[in-house]
C-alpha cells in the first residue's frame, strides 16, 4: 500500500520580553536555580497574575505577520494538571478564544514549488519550569526560573506531507519570529521548540489516521529524524496488522527513536475553564494599526524586493532572507560599494554568492553570527570591488577573503603584501605564454593537431607561472591567438 504522511506542528516560541508574562521576574536564561522565581511564579498562596503588555503586543505582531485574525476579546483559561514544574497546578493558557486565529505562511520546497501552510491559531501562555535529575540522589530537582516565561504556541493545520516540509515550515516560522524580534529562536536553550503530530493514511483517502504527538524536538535535524522514524514506525505497525495508539512520544536523540512517554500516559482531563483572576484582553483597531505600523519588512517581502532590485534568483533571495541580519549584511555590502567606489559596477550576484557561500562558510566554521562577522560589510565591499575592477581574480578573491577573516586586515593590504595583484599587462602575460609554449613543444603539436582539450593544460601552466595572477579573460584571449600559431 502507498502511505501518505500527515504532519501538524505545535511550535512554542518564548517571547523576548524582559519580564515574565504574569510577574515582574526576569526571564534571562541560565540564572542560578530559582533565582528568577518570585512569589507569583512560585504560586505562593494569595498571589495573582497581571498580564505583561509586551507579550500581548508580540503575539499581535505575529498574528499580523501571518495575516491572521487578531481576536478583539481573547480569554485566558486554566489548563489543570499536576506536575512539579507547574507550580499552580494549572497552566494559564488560552483555550476557546486565542489571541490569534487563522493565518498562513508560504514555504519554498526543495523542488522550487511554494506550499501554503495554514495556521490554526496562536495563543499566549506561560512556560513551565524545569526538572533536573542529575546528582540529586535519586530525586528530582525543580527549578522554576523558566516558569511564567511568556510563550506563543503556534498551531498549524495538519498540512504537511513530509518531514522535509515540516522542517521547511518550522524554519519559516523560525525566520519570521526573529524578523519580528519576538523570539531569539535559540533552539538549544529551548526558546524555540516544537511538538509534531504525526499520522499516516493510505494515499488517496481523506480520513486522518491516529496520530502520535512527538515531544522534545529542539533542532531542525531532530524534527526531520524524529518524524521520519515515527512515520516508518507507524507504517510498519499498520502493515504488520497492528494499529497506532494515540499517545505522547518522546524523541530520544541519542538513539534516534521515539518512545512512549509513560509519565504522560494517564488520560488527561485538563478541565479548562476561564481564569477568574484575569479579565478579557480587549484589543481595538487603533492598537492593531499601531502594531501593524511597527512591523518590519517581512521575509517574503524582502526576498521579493531583493530579487527585483538585484536580479537575484529565488533561491539566493530565499537564503539571504532566512535571517534579517544576513539580508541586511548583503544590502550593506552593496551600499558600501556604491558609496565608496561609485565608478565600479559591483555584481550583486557575486556579492550574494560570496555572502551565502564563502562568508557563511567561515561564519559556520568558527561559530560566529553574521552580526559579529570579522569582515565588516564595507571591507567585503572593497574586496568585491577589487574583483570588479580586475585587480584580482574571483579565485584569488576567495583566498583574500580567508586571509581577511584570519588576519583581520584590509583587502588591499593583503593583495599588496602577497603580490596577488592580477596581471593585466598584455606583454607580461604574453611573455609567460611564450615561455610555456616554448617549454611544451609536444603538447603544442598535439593541440594544433586538433586536441582542443589541451587548451586547459596551457591555461593551467600559464596560471602556475604567474602564480594565478594572470587576468583570466586576457589570458584566454591571448593564449587562443598564440596557440593558433
Amino acid at each position: 500500500m502507498q502511505w501518505e504522511t500527515v504532519i501538524g506542528l505545535e511550535i512554542h516560541a518564548q517571547l523576548l520580553t524582559s519580564s515574565k508574562i504574569f510577574s515582574g521576574s526576569a526571564t534571562a536564561y541560565g540564572a542560578p536555580p530559582n533565582s528568577q522565581a518570585n512569589l507569583v511564579d512560585l504560586a505562593y498562596p494569595g498571589v495573582l497574575p497581571v498580564l505583561n503588555a509586551e507579550a500581548v503586543r508580540m503575539a499581535v505582531k505575529f498574528g499580523l505577520a501571518v495575516n491572521a485574525r487578531v481576536t478583539r476579546r481573547s480569554i485566558f483559561a486554566r489548563k489543570n494538571y499536576f506536575y512539579p514544574d507547574l507550580p499552580k497546578g494549572y497552566q494559564i493558557s488560552q483555550y476557546e478564544l486565542p489571541i490569534v486565529s487563522g493565518g498562513a505562511v508560504d514555504v519554498l520546497l526543495d523542488d522550487g514549488s511554494v506550499k501554503r501552510i495554514d495556521i490554526t491559531r496562536a495563543h499566549l501562555e506561560e512556560d513551565a519550569g524545569k526538572s533536573l535529575h542529575e546528582g540529586l540522589a535519586g530525586q528530582t530537582g525543580v527549578d522554576l526560573n523558566r516558569a511564567g516565561t511568556p510563550l506563543i504556541e503556534i498551531v498549524s493545520e495538519p498540512a504537511m506531507r513530509s518531514a522535509k516540509q515540516a522542517v521547511a515550515y518550522l524554519k519559516k516560522i523560525h525566520t519570521l519570529v526573529r524578523y519580528l524580534q519576538i523570539c531569539d529562536g535559540n533552539m538549544q536553550e529551548g526558546s524555540f521548540r516544537c511538538d509534531a503530530n504525526v499520522s499516516v493514511r493510505p494515499r488517496g483517502t481523506e480520513k486522518l489516521g491516529t496520530r502520535a504527538e512527538i515531544k522534545n524536538l529542539n533542532s531542525f535535524r531532530f524534527v526531520e529524524k524524529a518524524i521520519n522514524y515515527e512515520v516508518a514506525r507507524q507504517i510498519e505497525l499498520l502493515e504488520g496488522g497492528g494499529r497506532v495508539v494515540q499517545e505522547t512520544r518522546l524523541y530520544d536523540a541519542d538513539r534516534g527513536e521515539t518512545r512512549s512517554m509513560r509519565s504522560k500516559e494517564e488520560a488527561n482531563d485538563y478541565r479548562y475553564f476561564p481564569d477568574p483572576d484575569l479579565l478579557p484582553v480587549e484589543i481595538d483597531q487603533l492598537y492593531i494599526d499601531t502594531v501593524c505600523a511597527s512591523l518590519p519588512e517581512l521575509p517574503d517581502q524582502k526576498a521579493q524586493r531583493l530579487r527585483k532590485d538585484y536580479d537575484l534568483s529565488a533561491y539566493d533571495a530565499g537564503v539571504l532572507t532566512a535571517s534579517a541580519e544576513l539580508a541586511d549584511y548583503f544590502e550593506t555590502v552593496i551600499e558600501k560599494a556604491a558609496a565608496g567606489f561609485p565608478a565600479t559596477a559591483l555584481s550583486p550576484k557575486l556579492a550574494a554568492n560570496t555572502v551565502i557561500g564563502e562568508l557563511s562558510g567561515l561564519l559556520n566554521r568558527d561559530g560566529v553570527e553574521i552580526n559579529d562577522s570579522r569582515i565588516a560589510p564595507a571591507a567585503l565591499a572593497k574586496l568585491l570591488v577589487r574583483v570588479a575592477d580586475n585587480t584580482i581574480s574571483g579565485k584569488i578573491a576567495k583566498e583574500v577573503l580567508e586571509a581577511m577573516w584570519d588576519e583581520g586586515k584590509d583587502a588591499d593590504a593583503i593583495i599588496e603584501a602577497r603580490g596577488w595583484r592580477q596581471i593585466t599587462d598584455e606583454s607580461a602575460i604574453e611573455a609567460a605564454i611564450d615561455a610555456v609554449i616554448a617549454a611544451n613543444p609536444s603538447q603544442l603539436a598535439q593541440y594544433r593537431s586538433g586536441k582542443d582539450k589541451l587548451f586547459g593544460f596551457f591555461v593551467g601552466q600559464v596560471m602556475k607561472a604567474t602564480q594565478g595572477k594572470a587576468n583570466p579573460a586576457r589570458l584566454n584571449e591571448l593564449l587562443k591567438k598564440k596557440l593558433g600559431g
Binding site: P45, V47, L48, N80, P84, K88, Y90, D277, L279
Partner: protein
C-alpha cells in the same frame, strides 16, 4: 480610660488622638482580654503579642509626633486567610499549619500603613469553606452569645472576637456570606464590599470570582472608616477596579427621605424563622418612619443561587487549591514512595473533609463531559441572577432581607449533611454571584441570640449601604448589645 474593650474604632481613634489612652495601653488591655477568652472561644489561631506591642509603640511615637492618621494605634485582628509577613498564615488548615508568609496582603499592608496594630490572626473554616467554623484544623470557634452554638463561618473567629469585645474590628472575607453570616450570628456588623472594590492580593483564594475582603465591626460608622483604608485599586490584582475611593464616613448622616427600599420577596418565602422575620419587618418600619419608601421586589432566579454557587465556587476552588502539593511550601506527607504518592497523601492528609469535598465537587463539574451541563449551566444561571438584581436596582436603591434563615445553631447540628449546611447561606450567596456590596446588621434578639438584616446595594453602592445602616444604628442599640459576660 475605662471599658476600652467596649469602644468602637471611631471612639478609640479619637481617644488615641486626644492622648487619653496610649496605643500600648490599649493593646495590652486587649491582648490580655484576647488571651483570657482564648480557651473558651478559640477565636484566634495566632496571637501576636510581641509584634502588636512593637507596632503599638511605633503608633504612639507617631501620635506623639503629630504624624498620625485616623487609624493610628487602633488594634485589629486579621482573618487567618490574609497573608501577614513574618507571621503564620494557616487558613485554618493543616496544609498551612506552619506556613509563614514572606509578604503582606494588600489589605494588611494598607492597614499597617494606616497605623493599625495587629493583635493576631483569627480562626476560620478551613480555606474559608464552611458556615459554622467547625471545619477549622485548629478546632471550632464558640459563639460568645452561647458557647454551645456556632459563630457562623467562615470568618467565625473575626465575628466572635469582635462580638466578645476582644478587638474593636477585624478583617474577614466573603465568598458566599462568610462575613455577613457570622456577623449575623454573633450580633455584629459585617460588610462585604463590591467585588473589585478591595484588592484580593494576598488573600488566599477560595473562589476567585466570588471572594471579596471586608470588615467585621461593631458599627456601620466603623465599617465606613475602615473601608476607606482598605478599598481602592491595586495594580497587583487584575480584578481590582480603578475607581476613586469616596469618603464613606462623610456620607453616613445623609437623611433617608426618598430612599427606595426593595423588600426581597424570595427571602421571605421559605424557611425563614418567624422571629427573625418579625425583627426585619420592624426594622423596615423604622426605616419607613425615617422617610424611606418600601416596596416589594422579586428576583425570580434568586432561589437558584445555592445550586449555582455550589458549582462555581467548588470549580474555582478545585483549581485554586491545586498549588498545595507539598513541593514548595505547606504540608508534605512522610516518606512519599513516588511523585504520585507525594501528591495524593500530602493533599489527602493536609486537607480536611469539607475542603476535599469541595475540591472533588469542583473537579467533577469541570471534568470532561460535565463542563457544559454543570459549569457552563451554572455560569448562565449566574447571569440570570445578576440580571434579576440589575432589574431590581432600576426600581429601588437598595434591597433588604434577612442575612440568615435562623439564629446561631448548635455545634454539630448541621455537620452530617453538607447540603443542610450549604442552605444556611441561602440569603447571602446572591450578592457574591452578582458581585454586589452587602452589609449585615444586628436587628434584634430571638431567645437571647442575635438576628440580623441584610442590605444589598448596586455595584459600588457602599456609601448608600453604610448610610442606611448608620441611620438605622442611630435609632437602635442592637449593635451596642454585648453578649452576656462580655460587656
Amino acid at each position: 480610660m475605662s471599658d476600652l474593650h467596649d469602644k468602637t474604632v471611631t471612639e478609640l481613634a479619637a481617644a488615641l488622638r486626644a492622648r487619653q489612652v496610649s496605643s500600648v495601653e490599649l493593646t495590652q488591655a486587649l491582648l490580655e482580654r484576647v488571651t483570657r477568652h482564648q480557651g473558651a472561644l478559640n477565636a484566634f489561631i495566632t496571637i501576636s503579642a510581641e509584634g502588636a506591642l512593637l507596632e503599638a509603640a511605633r503608633a504612639d511615637a507617631r501620635l506623639g509626633a503629630n504624624d498620625a492618621g485616623p487609624l493610628t494605634g487602633v488594634p485589629m485582628a486579621h482573618k487567618d486567610l490574609f497573608c501577614t509577613r513574618g507571621e503564620k498564615t494557616t487558613c485554618g488548615s493543616r496544609m498551612l499549619a506552619d506556613f509563614v508568609s514572606p509578604y503582606d496582603a494588600t489589605v494588611v499592608e494598607r492597614l499597617r500603613a494606616a497605623g493599625v496594630v495587629m493583635l493576631g490572626k483569627t480562626n476560620m473554616d478551613e480555606f474559608a469553606m464552611g458556615s459554622s467554623n467547625e471545619t477549622s484544623f485548629f478546632g471550632p470557634v464558640k459563639n460568645p452569645w452561647d458557647p454551645a452554638r456556632v459563630p457562623g463561618g467562615s470568618s467565625g473567629g473575626s465575628a466572635a472576637a469582635v462580638a466578645a469585645r476582644l478587638v474593636p474590628a477585624a478583617t474577614g472575607t466573603d465568598t458566599g456570606g462568610s462575613i455577613r453570616q457570622p456577623a449575623a450570628l454573633c450580633g455584629v456588623t459585617g460588610l462585604k464590599p463590591t467585588y473589585g472594590r478591595v484588592s484580593r492580593y494576598g488573600m488566599v483564594a477560595f473562589a476567585s470570582s466570588l471572594d471579596q475582603a471586608g470588615l467585621i465591626t461593631r458599627s456601620a460608622a466603623d465599617a465606613a472608616l475602615l473601608l476607606g483604608a482598605i478599598a481602592g485599586f491595586d495594580e497587583r490584582d487584575s480584578t481590582s477596579v480603578e475607581l476613586p475611593v469616596p469618603d464613606y464616613s462623610a456620607a453616613l448622616e445623609q437623611p433617608l427621605k426618598g430612599l427606595k427600599i426593595g423588600v426581597l420577596k424570595e427571602f421571605f418565602d421559605t424557611g425563614l424563622d418567624p422571629a427573625i422575620e418579625q425583627h426585619i419587618r420592624a426594622a423596615l418600619e423604622l426605616l419607613r418612619s425615617q422617610g424611606a419608601l418600601i416596596k416589594d421586589v422579586s428576583l425570580p432566579n434568586l432561589p437558584l443561587s445555592v445550586p449555582t454557587y455550589y458549582v462555581v465556587a467548588p470549580a474555582e476552588c478545585s483549581s485554586n487549591l491545586a498549588r498545595f502539593d507539598g513541593v514548595r511550601y505547606g504540608y508534605r506527607c512522610k516518606k512519599p514512595t513516588d511523585l504520585l504518592d507525594l501528591y495524593l497523601r500530602s493533599r489527602g492528609e493536609g486537607f480536611g473533609a469539607e475542603v476535599k469535598r469541595r475540591i472533588m465537587t469542583g473537579t467533577y463539574v469541570l471534568s470532561a463531559g460535565y463542563y457544559d451541563a454543570f459549569y457552563l449551566k451554572a455560569q448562565r444561571v449566574r447571569q440570570l441572577i445578576s440580571n434579576d438584581f440589575e432589574r431590581a436596582f432600576h426600581e429601588v436603591d437598595v434591597v433588604i432581607g434577612p442575612t440568615t434563615p435562623t439564629a446561631a445553631f448548635e455545634l454539630g447540628a448541621k455537620t452530617a449533611d453538607p447540603v443542610t449546611m450549604y442552605l444556611n447561606d441561602i440569603y447571602t450567596i446572591g450578592a457574591n454571584l452578582a458581585g454586589l456590596p452587602a452589609i449585615s446588621l444586628p436587628c434584634g434578639l430571638t431567645q437571647g441570640l442575635p438576628a440580623a438584616l441584610q442590605i444589598i446595594g448596586p455595584h459600588f453602592g457602599e456609601e448608600r449601604l453604610l448610610n442606611v445602616a448608620h441611620r438605622y444604628q442611630l435609632e437602635t442599640d442592637w449593635h451596642r448589645r454585648a453578649p452576656p459576660g462580655f460587656a
